[in-house]
Amino acid sequence: MSAITSLPQTAGSVEAMKPEKGYISVKDFDFWYGTHQTLFKVNMEMPEKQVTAFIGPSGCGKSTLLRNIKRMNDLVDGQHHQGDITIGNDTIYHPHLEVTSLRKRVGMVFQKSNPFPKSIYENVVYGLRVAGVNDRATLDAACEHALRSSALWEEVKDRLSASALGLSGGQQQRLCIARAIAVKPEVLLMDEPCSALDPIATGKIEELILELKKEFTVVIVTHNMQQAARVSDLTAFFYLGKLIEFDTTLKIFTNPSLKQTEDYITGRFG
């Protein structure tokens, strides 16, 4: 009998530790939209090839911080920041850093899946084409790999040239994940990626996240406490632009240090 050795591995890593130095480091980070300060002295170390979840009430700044990791707030009028964010050893605000090269290292998946009105194939290889890759064999291989990694290949391999808009919501979301990972980023950011999906599609994405963390450092924003508990290794609780508590998911969901965290998770907030 090989039953025991073939048992699946535990999903979230119960042994997760809060690292001294993470792959993504946020240091004394303040952020303003114009005069409105939305993040206050945030410090956190997100470990490599682990899943970090951001939780907290609406408007507490989760998306703002997530978008900053990819410098997606650059175009917002009047935005400014203090402090630093580093990925690997590189500050994302280095004056000589090309924002486009940073953006290649960081993939993002949004709450509402946003496929382009093009074929499934072209959606997946979009980032590669933008980067100048045109060799058909390379694109084919990358497309298949990304679709396999996003657990979509079996469902679409026979209709790669069909419009992406003909896919279901759950499939579109996995397509967006495929598009994000086709360019082989190091970091994958997900902002409420399952909020528009049914439990089955959600389950697929959650399984996928646990697979993806073998290759990527994942940060996910979610309002679904069970989801944060299921998929993440570390959980950060934000409130009014401040990082209130950040610890292993096991700790946050069994015995958080602060009452405020517990009150939020158990729905007693306010």
Binding site: A229, F253, N255, E262, I265, T266, G267, G270
Partner: protein, 223 residues
Amino acid sequence: MNNIRHFEIEIAELKRSLVGMGNLVEQSLSAAVDAILIPRVDAREEARVLEERLDSMDTAIEERAHRIMALQHPMISDLRLLISALHICSDLEQIGDLCESIAKRATWIAKHSPVENPKHLEELARLVKEMIHGCLEAFVSSNTELAKTVITQEDHSDDLTKLCYESIQASMARTPEKIREYTHLLRAVAHLEHIGDIAVAIAEESVYVHKGQMIRHHHEDLR
């Protein structure tokens, strides 16, 4: 916010049912203790009736806890509370069984020859009753200090049990023709001690609920 209020009501009702079951267990324990101190032939029947009521309360509490878990997805301390409520419920059910067994033995003794009770039996019985009352009170009113008191009472109950055993063994040696009566008495004392142990487990459960600190099996540091 509506939802959470509903949850609080469910939890309050669950606690109330547990208190109800606890009261019945205390009643059952008192009856068993009285019966062993002054053996009566009707003790067994009385205990059986109480035991049946405890069984149906146990089922009702389990169903309620299960329903809350399935529908409300409790987290952190709410989850701990429910898990503990289930443990405590089956602990209480077990105490009910032990009380019934004590009553049966009392009835048997009453139907045969009278025995001489150990000098410390009454004190042991009083202590165990106090421990049961204390652990349930500690659970319901989140009183960790009281829980710790119950936990530390275990040593005293062990000592009294040992004294009772010695006394029963001496009686057995003195009156070998009553060896069966004394064996029943010995078993009844063992049940009492066991009930005290369960009180300690419930007290540990209540510390776990309120502090999130698992102390079952290793509470040496409390002493």
